[in-house]
Amino acid sequence: MLNTWAARAFSGGLFVLALWLSGCAAPLQLEHLAPSAFPEPVEIKDVVFFPQEEYQCGPAALATVLNWAGKKITPDALAPEVYLPERRGSLQLELLADARRHGAIPYVVRPLLTDLLAEVAAGDPVVVLQNLGLSWYPKWHYAVVVGFDLARDKIVLRSGLEARHIVPLALFERTWRRADYWAMVVMPPEKLPRTAEETPYLQAVVPLERLQRWNEASVAYETALARWPLSLPAQLGLGNSRYALRDLAGAEQAYRAAVGAHPDSAIAFNNLAQTLADRGRWQDAEAAVQQALTLGGPHVETYRATLAEIRARRAATE
């Protein structure tokens, strides 16, 4: 008698405890999602599948989306670039960095279920970080969302050893929420993510500059300008990458657009001046850098140096 009571109390207590421990009280984004938002089922069938080896879901997920972006690469080749042997896994930041090393643009999607689904509906697979366990007993995992069907309550993932891991939406959202709704798409430079916003997109492109991937950077800046024609960082970035590629005429054109649209940008005037000087147009160069000096700002030392150099080079040639 006492035994059955104790057993019942124990299992009931465990049930309540499980609910409490899993912190499932807060409402899901899914509850606010109208099924009419995405009425049609979506599945991007051509996305390759790499069954992951042990702990290697990071390289596998990254290889999946890099291949989608047109880069032929295997998880084995990526492992030395993103895997941390002692921790048996991969950091989110390293997946971003490594996508850039392969000349693609990694874009972190806003932490919204609607944005995730919009990217998939636009035809691009999305890498997600999930915590398949509990907040206090995590099991971190990368998977790639390739499809969903709101009416049938399912989402389709390339995950682990399963080419089509089908999960109910609420369960997926819980595992994704426990990883702070982290998701990324990996795009070729000529294509903008469906949900891209100006500043985050450009922040995703700029680090290509330190890798000297100037070709990809210039294409990505042009992609940004097609959507945000007056974006100062995109105009400057286009000028800077063309300058690095020694396309001085193209750089001048981009900087001229920048100073035209943003006559208060000292950086744009300075970089225009540097480019004009390299083309031997001393007078125009000096006028441009004078404008930069008038505007001032945190880089004023550089502008002074630019002016001094223009004068010295001019004196040397005349």
Binding site: L14, F15, L17, A18, L19, S22, C24, Q52, Q56, C57, G58, E81, L84, P85, E86, R87, G89, S90, L91, Q92, L93, E94, L96, A97, D98, L129, L132, G133, L134, Y137, P138, K139, W140, H141, D153, K154, P168, A170, L171, F172, R174, T175, Q203, V206, P207, E209, R210, L232, P233, N240, I267, N270, N271, Q274, T275, P298, T302, R304, T306, L307
Partner: protein, 136 residues
Amino acid sequence: MDKLRRLSKPIAYVVALGVLTLSVHLPPAQAAIVGTEAVVSAQQAAQDRSRVQDMLNRVEVKQQFLRAGVEPSHVTARVDALSDDEVHQLAGKMDQLPVGGSDALGILLFVFIVLLITDILGLTDIFPFVKKPSRR
């Protein structure tokens, strides 16, 4: 020997700082193209100070990668691929950040039961043999 090892980190910092202060302060300003990062970076103020800090962070992250078992020949390229903001997010905090790895769980019986129940309830996704409930 052990003492030496404990000292190696502060020494590395001091040396790095020395080298950096030299390289940061010797050439005052160069006529140059100002990089795009200057207009999109969240923290463009206090540029010189942050440049030193960025380099220190990179030294720190390199050591973290080595400790995490990354082949020394791969470490430099991996750290170089990170932007300054990313290095800033990693430095000193790497151990607390999640690594997606689908770790096989070494499960205690209690945790096993909790996870089994949460799997059945559709809160977690640990066991492939549990049929997951659908909401609708």
